[in-house]
Amino acid sequence: MSDNIEIDPGAARESGLVTTDSFDNLERMSSSLDEIKSTNAISQSEESNDNANIEQLDESTNYVKDSTEENEIEVSREWTSKSKHIFVLSQAGKPIYSRYGNEDKLAWLFGVMQTLVSFVQSSDDTIKSIHAGDTHFVFLIKKPLILVAVHKTQESEQQIVTQLNYVFNQITSILTLTRLKKIYEQRQNYDLRRLLTGVERLIDHLLDFSEKDPSFFLGAVQCLPLTSSVRDSISSAIIAACNKIKNLVFAILLANNKLITLVRMKKYCLHPADLHLIFNLVQASESLKNSESWTPLCLPKFDASGFLYGHVSYLAEDCQACLLLLTVDRDVFFTLSEAKQRIVERLRRGNSLEAINEALVSSDANWNGAGFPELRHYIYKSKSTAQFYQPPIGPPYSLRPRRLIDVYKRSHQRLHSSTRPLKLAFERSASEAVLAWDTRGFELYATFEPLTSTAAIIASVGKLLDWVKKREDKLFCLNAPTF
């Protein structure tokens, strides 16, 4: 095992990210928060504050009358031709979210979905999916919610379930799972949308994001390529500024959906699924660019029962990297704000801001000149660090990058089928030749010109692995620094 780590590019002994299969159901609830709080002896009085909102729930009873709407809805051709609908409803059938169209007007449809679910449930069974030609219906029952996807894409059921889990986690990250459950224990008929105003936007963004970014189906994160000395000096700047601050769990620096560094409290790791939610939050919230913000945030994989509090800010006007400082203390905004100032000063002095800016603009386009004439694009995932690298998408996919993602999704689903997993999948069509290879240490997905011979492909892949190995300390975060 250990010699394997030496060989595989991008492998490391320790990782700040939880390495995982991308398909696990996010079911496990850890209690990291309690651990941290109790070790640092935080007063327990906060819990009561969390409950304050719930007590107010019962006041309102005026929810939409859905019976009259039934005949009004016209399901338009445009609406039915959407490639992927996502619906979220309560166990009682109350609409919570619809990706397209107005939930109130679609109330009847939510009713039908709830009926199907409970009908199958009544015979001690669980509905999973329905298939009708090009249209697939995937159900995910995650108490207290029901999530449904109706899609005309080629994704597998597993991949869709993963996406639905992300939607569920997005909702949890706003409310915490504990609160979500409590709400429905108290009032089955509750209209959750009142608590989720503004969250639709996050879910919309998450769905678009997860459809076009490979990190979601890979269960991994892409790093911003930086030489290891620069990355280390950034990490140490963060550590130097923060190591005196109690209860700071994670410091995350990211830019353009790529991770720059992650500094963590000893013993605790961040799950890629949680990090994706953070990426989504940063990307979807333009307002964060203007000022420092303080936001409660539940990371469902880390601890679904409570909030972390995040100090979120961009480094500087002239450096569009976003820094998140996540703590369990709810009132240390100013402490963290000062820490941020210290970090920026140090980075500026060390010329790290320029280095980040450079990495952001350099498109790394020269990889193609490295002697892979028939290689169009590739994704390399290092399993031990849950990180991946891909070069920018170029021709012939520049105009339709989604097509390439679809190709990779298909290959990924072949390799990772739940019952018939494979070691290698090669497919050749008129448009491209794709090699997908799963080994103990890494996964590789490579796209070639359609007529490339297998001999040339194998030769290319060998060279490519060498090339990635040579640049691994630039492409991946190989260290997992702690405070």
């Binding site: 039915t80 199907l116 009708a132 008129a430």
Partner: protein, 464 residues
């Protein structure tokens, strides 16, 4: 330790919602229901769920009506063969199986063993066989008459349904042809033409040698179903011993000892003793615009089977069969001897091939021809030259080929280092299982090239 459990049939029903819309009369919609032990309420419930699913899915304008429902414990498959008529088949996914000491029950999940494309094919086949003998559902003006016919057909049919050994071949539902040299083929055609011109009553003819088709005068879609019926049901029942050798006689003498003189398998089976014409099945062919009813007369001599399709309004007498027999028997026997001679020269017995040799399945969509060296016999008993897992991976590949364009190639390496290959070009599909551990992708693609050259001479595979 774990006893191997089979995929079980939970229920199977046929209904038409347009029969009645009244509440309280739901039972009338159900034309056939298996098992009858299900209480009427359960039947109505099950039909209700299907109706709900049909309506729900239609909301999103899918490219075809609903195909399947997956739940934790079962798989339900749908087929709408005629407008408003739905056939539904539900399969169990979990079976209680006991270890030898009978102490621990192990819940076995079969979920991913049930591949939609395979079992949907089985469901469709069941309808086409019904239609072959009993015509379309719509042709019945009287619902009760249809119910009787459905009962009569499906009760025994479902008992014989081979759920455990269904595989990619069921998707193709293909026909095995016997390749002959020009001369021998012409002789077969002469024989058929001679018969058809001597007896204008005979509309069409089909000629088989063992389980291989040599000539068919009817539409391939019809022949497909008839072929399955002949090979799967009629011939084994009659000539079990003869078929065992397949088209490749293992010990040269036995197949030819069986029948020195030909005889009718349907109709008057023993002409010497016959006083009546015996039972003569009728069937419906749909090749033209509408269905036409025919008598189905099957004649067998040595290893050959000749099917005559005679318009159902023809008056047939015992004399007709006697004359036909006199004409056919001597000609057919000499013809068959010739075919057998040709075959014995051509065909390498499968036992000669080494075990590690690649096994393949070939299917041509244009003439529905298939060839398999994976299946060791024609009886769907799971007698395979490669693992079941490999068969399922082939069906997985088949399911995705549609996404890859007209010509494509897929090469997969399994967890236990076997290679499964799928190749599609020119409406032909070619699936190969290679059991070469330690082989590389390059060696495998060379191996496939060799195999295509030797087995599929003259078939052009696009470079991609």
């Amino acid at each position: 330790m774990v006893t191997k459990t089979d995929i079980g049939l939970k229920n199977f029903f046929i209904f038409n919602s347009t029969i009645t819309a009244k509440e309280g009369e739901e039972l009338k919609k159900i034309l056939y229901y298996y098992p009858i032990t299900d209480h009427a309420d359960v039947q109505i419930r099950n039909v209700g769920l299907v109706e709900g699913i049909i309506n729900f899915t239609e909301t999103f304008k899918p490219s075809s009506p609903v195909n399947s429902l997956h739940t934790s414990n079962s798989r339900q498959l749908y087929f709408q063969p005629e407008k408003d008529f739905w056939i539904v088949m539900t399969l169990h996914l979990t079976n209680q199986s006991k270890s030898k000491d009978g102490l621990n029950n192990i819940e076995q999940t079969l979920e991913d063993d049930i591949q939609d494309n395979v079992y949907e094919a089985l469901l469709k086949q069941s309808y086409y066989v019904f239609r072959l003998f009993w015509n379309t559902f719509k042709s019945y003006k009287d619902i009760d008459a249809l119910k009787v016919k459905l009962e009569k057909f499906f009760n025994p049919y479902l008992k014989c349904l081979n759920l455990a050994h269904a595989d990619i071949l069921d998707i193709f539902n293909g026909i095995q042809y016997l390749p002959l040299d020009k001369n021998t083929f012409l002789k077969v055609q002469c024989f058929v033409n001679h018969l058809e011109s001597s007896y204008p009553e005979i509309s069409h003819t089909a000629f088989l040698y063992n389980d291989h088709l040599i000539w068919s005068g009817i539409e391939p879609e019809d022949m497909q179903t008839i072929y399955q019926y002949l090979i799967g049901t009629l011939l084994p029942a009659n000539v079990e011993t003869e078929l065992q050798g397949g088209s490749m006689p293992r010990n040269a003498s036995s197949p030819f000892m069986a029948l020195r003189h030909g005889r009718f398998i349907t109709g008057p089976t023993n002409l010497k003793l016959a006083k009546t014409m015996g039972e003569l099945p009728k069937l419906y062919l749909f090749g033209g615009a509408k269905s036409v009813e025919y008598y189905f007369v099957v004649y067998r001599a040595l290893s050959a089977t000749v099917c005559f399709f005679i318009k159902a309004d023809t008056v047939l007498t015992l004399d007709f069969f006697k004359q036909l027999d006199e004409l056919v028997s001597p000609k057919l026997i000499s013809l068959v001897t010739e075919i057998a001679e040709y075959c014995s020269k051509q065909i390498v017995s499968p036992s000669v091939l080494p075990d590690a040799a690649p096994k393949f399945i070939y299917f041509n969509k244009l003439n529905l021809a298939y060839k398999s060296t994976v299946h060791l016999d024609n009886k769907h008993t799971g007698n395979l030259a490669c693992s079941k897992e490999s068969m399922r991976i082939m069906a997985d590949i088949q399911e995705k080929t549609g996404l890859l364009g007209k010509s494509n190639e897929t090469i997969l390496k399994t967890m236990n280092d076997y290679w499964i290959v799928g190749k599609c070009s020119n409406s032909r599909q070619f699936y190969i299982a290679l059991q070469q551990k330690n082989a590389s992708l390059i060696e495998i693609s060379d191996e496939i090239k060799k195999l295509c050259d030797s087995e599929l001479k003259g078939i052009f595979f696009h470079p991609v």
